[in-house]
Amino acid sequence: MNSIYQIIKIEALQDFKNRYVLSGYLLYLVAVSYVIFLSITSEVSRPVWVALYWITLIFGSINALMKSFYKESKGLALYYHMMASPRTIILAKMIYNLFTNIVIAFINYGLFTLFLGNPFESDVRFIYVIVMGASGIACLLTFMSAISSKTDQAQTSMAILSLPLLIPLLISLVNLSLQLNMPVIRETGYIWLIPLGLNFVIFSLAVLLFPYLWTE
């Protein structure tokens, strides 16, 4: 438990030292939101808003989390290898990326509200959707970053590997977001559990499979 916390602290300090990574991510989101704002000429309906929000978040996360395993110098990678078990490393990285992505998802929500209005008005249940979505995306992309950092073409393989597996998550999040304005939620609650279930599956699969990747 302590070593997980230590690694999270190292990750946080690294990101603080190289602030350009996270601020690059934020800048990307601001730029994309503004481009969307300029391209949309009429009122944005809720389905369009939801679609744009999740697409922006997914592509931004792919760009940002690509560096998750790739940014380390050889020295730090060796240090990690000697000091902590692979399970610790993947847990720490996923937890750290999860929290970062949730914060950034909220900032993106704020940006979208600023430029495109808030289709949810005072409905706070979208917060649940954001938390589930951002954490699922972060866990999946952390694991994919671990795989793609070992290939010869890291950037393209990161996108190609993660997009098919992100699609189920995307579909469930979009469905759930659109359900929020229905007076009666159909499927009696299944639809709320699907993102949670997917997160759980992704998280546990990544923790189970990561030690096989880390044997170098």
Binding site: I147, Q153, L161, L163, P168, Y190, I202
Partner: protein, 219 residues
């Protein structure tokens, strides 16, 4: 013995091609005669799942034994499954055009099919972007297991929870909506077995070709 089994497989497929197209089929609304596609489209998907299951088995086996032979079996099974999946997609699109009026639609089953294809094409991509054979084997085995688990959820679990245009889904899995009592099953089950045998044969040939290629490159 193996030749006999493979020959039986081909014979069964020929049987399904001839008798399947000639025999009387029950008339169901919307489907009419196109229900014959059951023998070709559904068998493709079953063969694909069979091949991906084999691929998963050998991927897990590779992570236990670290023998490259297991990795070759896993990857060739995935490629064979991919070929069957593409055939399944094409026959399905053809079927959709004549029953639903469109080549493609937003349906959980079709989404699952598309994502499965994309994920295994990515598997192919990841394999060909790594040069070192041991690293390639390990990474692709891990990705295979991860993708397969997510696929099972997305093809098996989610369509049953949502309504779907596909017959048999929307809370009622299986083929109960067809008149599958005796008339169609006579052709369907032999066709299924025949196509699975052919899939196994193709996989076997691919493994042998790959082994020969590797031996050729070594010398």
């Amino acid at each position: 013995m193996k030749k006999l089994i493979y020959f039986t497989g081909v014979a069964l497929v020929f049987y399904s091609l001839t008798y399947g197209l000639l025999k009387e089929v029950p008339r169901l609304p919307i489907l009419h005669e196109t229900i014959r596609n059951l023998f070709y489209h559904v068998t493709m998907w079953f063969s694909m799942i069979f091949m991906f299951g084999v691929s998963l088995f050998y991927s897990i086996k590779y992570l236990k034994t670290f023998r490259l032979d297991d990795d070759i079996r896993a990857s060739q099974a995935a490629y064979t499954g991919l070929a069957f999946g593409v055939a399944g997609l094409l026959t399905g699109m053809l079927w959709a055009r004549y029953t639903w009026g469109t080549w493609w639609t937003k349906d959980p089953q079709l989404n699952g099919a598309a994502i499965t294809m994309l994920a295994y094409f990515s598997y192919h991509f990841i394999r060909q972007s790594i040069a070192d054979s041991e690293k390639r084997a390990r990474l692709s085995a891990v990705y295979n297991i991860f993708a397969f688990a997510l696929m099972i959820i997305f093809i098996g679990v989610l369509p049953r929870m949502n309504d779907s245009l596909h017959p048999g889904k929307g809370g009622n899995p299986g083929f109960n909506t067809y008149d599958m009592d005796a008339t169609l099953r006579v052709v369907f089950y032999p066709a299924l077995i025949g196509w699975m045998i052919i899939a196994h044969w193709i996989w076997n040939l691919r493994i042998r070709i790959t082994n020969l290629e590797n031996r050729m490159y070594e010398e």
